[in-house]
């Protein structure tokens, strides 16, 4: 009996793999989802309601184990005692970098991928972003414009549920928002001060986030317990486990196969199509093959590119679908680490109740209406205002009953801003297969060559200054600007390396995320990005994925694939 041929194979089950699974199955395709990691059972594996005293190291985590098994993953702020299981084991998943040029690759391998632990901030791109490369003559032009993706933003926002406040800004288009979350007392004060001191230039809005502020499509509203990145039994934030995979399962047309480490794609030179994938079983390490009529690569930016590089054939000696030679190049991440904090006097008789899983946002204001002398493009700022807790006592004088009582009482209001800056595509930031190092499953590791350049560094400095200016405008005291030299990768917005473009000679994918070279191969994760904007990218990946699925199924029906 010949092996079964699926209508579609989706590689990866994170943000984009989940969307591909939902869209393809809802359009009638029998779909196989291959996930390299283990299955996740929300009832058992979600850990958001474990009180701190039940955790052996009181949230500080098993430091010795982290140092041994997750020396890279633990650099990520979000990793802690209980959710470290949603991050990879660095020993099993090696990669290499150049001496003195670190890149931090933060990964999750399980059903749901990094969508379990993502930051949930959800912003639309605008034509300021899509036109930037063409306007400045950098890299290649995006093959799409805002009006082409806008309906797909509507579509994915409506399903995912994004809370936020409409502001009418051209550089940060409004979406289909659920009611916005509330601002804290300090935030309200700073927001007013920014509106007064920087009219027409800067404004502060509540973060737009994929967390429900009201019941939505069978999922409950957020109950403000706090640690979303530990899972959410009420499914109140968007993840593929909470939202898109259940939708795909409801069609009865999806098979999700965990422990399926994809080794390479199978290319048929006669038809010039991919016919399936080679898989190494994650547990038994047996070599398997699966076949499908179309393949969606949604394995995450660097995993998808690694897979194409490892799928070289005689026709494509430099990596599958790489006639352009662009595969692996123009790796980007957002800069992070320029900002400022300060104390906001007043409001001592007020506080916040609940743990809001969201912050505030200052949309990009550089190079929007006027030109900045030191850098191209811009940054957005995130942050928040809160009352200090007992932790402040570690640096304060005193001990005894009065000291204890002071620490039980909330401390002063603080406010923090930190920027997320656009990174320019640069041919010299690239990845290739390491010639020696292999992972636990015998697949060649990536060698990553990546560093910040002058434009990113100049922007980072400006973030500190601009953050301090806004705090000063709000009457903050003890303003502390900071500038951290974080390596690329740490923002976990890595993108590029298989860019979209109009010309098959200079890009890997066309305007529908379809490989120029191989018509039945689609790639819709962050690898497709031709530039990076400064906003958090996941919402755009979702919209591009849904759009590509629509195109792929229409093409199949026309007999074009």
């Amino acid at each position: 009996m010949p092996a079964k041929t699926y209508d579609a194979i989706v590689i990866g089950s994170g943000i984009t793999g989940g969307w591909a699974a939902k869209e393809l199955t809802e359009k009638g395709l029998e779909t196989l989802v291959l996930e390299a990691g283990r299955p996740i059972e929300p009832n058992k594996d979600y850990v958001e309601h474990v009180p701190v005293w039940k955790k052996r190291f009181r949230e500080m985590g098993d430091r010795n184990r982290f140092n041994r098994e997750q020396p890279i993953q633990q650099k990520c702020n979000a990793l802690d005692e209980l959710n470290s299981k949603f991050f990879v084991n660095d020993q099993q998943n090696p990669y290499t970098t150049d001496e003195g040029k670190p890149f931090l690759w933060i990964r999750g391998r399980q059903v749901g991928g990094r969508s379990i632990i993502w930051g949930r901030q959800s912003y639309r791109w605008s034509d300021l972003d899509f036109e930037a490369n063409a306007r400045e003559g950098i890299a290649v032009d995006w093959p799409i414009r805002y009006h082409e993706i806008a309906p797909w933003y509507d579509y994915v926002e409506d399903f995912a549920g994004i809370s936020g406040q409409a502001e009418g800004l051209p550089q940060l288009p409004d979406g289909k928002f659920l009611p916005p979350m509330e601002m804290t007392c300090a935030e309200l004060l700073v927001k007013d001060a920014i509106a007064k001191h920087f009219p027409g230039e800067r404004l502060m809005t509540i973060g737009r986030c994929a967390v429900l502020t009201q019941a939505h499509r069978g999922r409950a509203a957020c109950h403000y317990c706090g640690p979303c990145d530990h899972g959410c039994i009420t499914k109140s934030y968007f993840s593929s486990l909470n939202s898109t995979l259940p939708a795909a399962l409801a069609t009865g047309k999806v098979t999700i196969r965990p422990h399926s480490v994809v080794h390479s794609l199978i290319f048929d030179s006669a038809s010039r199509k991919v016919t399936g994938v080679r898989v190494i079983d994650g547990q038994s390490k047996a070599a398997l093959e699966f076949h499908g009529r179309i393949v969606f690569l949604c394995a995450s930016t660097l995993e998808s590119t690694r897979l194409l590089l490892n799928s070289a054939t005689t026709e494509f000696p430099a990596g599958l679908a790489n006639s352009s030679g662009q595969l692996g190049h123009n790796l980007m991440d957002h800069t992070m680490g320029g900002g400022a904090g300060g104390r906001i006097p007043g409001n001592e008789d007020k506080t916040s109740f609940g743990r809001r899983p969201n912050g505030i946002y200052v949309p990009r204001f550089r190079n929007v209406k006027s030109k900045h002398p030191n850098f191209l493009r811009g940054y957005g700022m995130q942050g928040g205002g809160w009352r200090q807790g007992w932790e402040r006592g570690i640096e304060l004088a005193g001990f005894g009953p009065e000291f204890k009582q002071m620490l039980i009482h909330p401390g002063p209001w603080m406010m923090d801003f930190y920027g997320f800056g656009e990174c320019l595509p640069n041919e010299g930031n690239y990845v290739e297969l390491d010639k020696e190092v292999k992972d636990e499953w015998g697949i060649p590791a990536l060698r990553i060559h990546c560093q910040w350049r002058d434009n990113e560094r100049a922007m980072l400095q400006d973030m500190s200054i601009a953050a301090a200016e806004m705090l000063a405008a709000a009457g903050a005291k003890d303003i502390t600007p900071y500038l951290e030299d974080n390596p690329p990768g740490l923002t976990i917005h890595e993108m590029g390396t298989a860019r979209m473009g109009r010309d098959p000679k200079t890009s890997v994918l066309n305007s529908h995320n379809q490989a120029h070279d191989i018509k039945n191969l689609f790639l819709t994760d962050g690898a497709c990005m031709a530039s990076s904007s400064c906003v958090n990218p996941s919402l755009t990946y979702m919209a591009l994925t849904a759009r590509a699925c629509d195109f792929a199924v229409a093409s199949m029906k026309k007999g074009e694939l």
Partner: protein, 200 residues
């Protein structure tokens, strides 16, 4: 009520803040983790007694439990044994032993044999020295996993830090002192502060 009923309730449209208290209690058991039985691994009985005494000086029993009731000494022993670097551990233990040496020089007896006034004087001296040393340093936000690695090498810094962490993350400290709720009874970002419910 059974665990699956709790989960069913959660998955429904029931508003979480309106769930009865016993459900909230069950909820915390849903993901319960067993903590290992306490037995000291690094501190000797004498060292443990000094640690317990100093911790209680820092966070004493008042109308809410103190460090001793919250078993902060056991937390400190765990951190010394399984979390600290060997260097930090040696430095802490050496600093702890030095407490008796200092009281013998000052008062001619071990710390635990000193009067309350003498103990308080010594700790006040430690605290003043510490704060002088820490002044002017920039305390940037440290990462979650690393934020409690000792930033200052003195014994008293580590002792005070571990006491505060151990106390306010204990069940006694979090529930009775801070009124911490795993699922907050309400969410309001800017609301009047009522002392008895100043929950985090």
């Amino acid at each position: 009520m059974q665990r699956r009923e709790v989960i069913r309730l959660l998955l429904g449209t029931a508003a979480i803040p309106l769930l009865p208290r016993d459900v909230l209690g069950l909820l915390s058991q849903v993901h319960d983790q067993l903590s290992t039985a306490p037995s000291l691994k690094t501190l000797t009985p004498h060292q443990d007694a000094v640690v317990s005494s100093i911790a209680e000086w820092i966070i004493p029993q008042t109308d809410t439990p103190g460090a001793k009731a919250a078993r902060v000494n056991e937390f400190i022993d765990l951190i010394l044994t399984e979390w600290y670097d060997p260097d930090d551990r040696s430095r802490f233990v050496a600093g702890l032993d030095d407490v008796d040496r200092q009281t013998r020089n000052l008062y001619g007896k071990d710390f635990l044999d000193c009067s309350s006034l003498q103990q308080e004087q010594l700790l006040t001296m430690f605290d003043e020295q510490l704060i002088q040393r820490r002044q002017g340093e920039v305390h940037g936000a440290r990462r979650r996993g690393q934020k409690y690695a000792p930033a200052d090498q003195s014994f008293f810094y580590a002792m005070k830090q571990l006491t505060l962490v151990g106390y306010f993350t204990s069940e006694e400290g979090a529930k009775q002192a801070l009124h911490y709720q795993v699922i907050p009874s309400r969410h309001e970002a800017c609301a009047p502060l009522e002392e008895e419910e100043a929950a985090k």
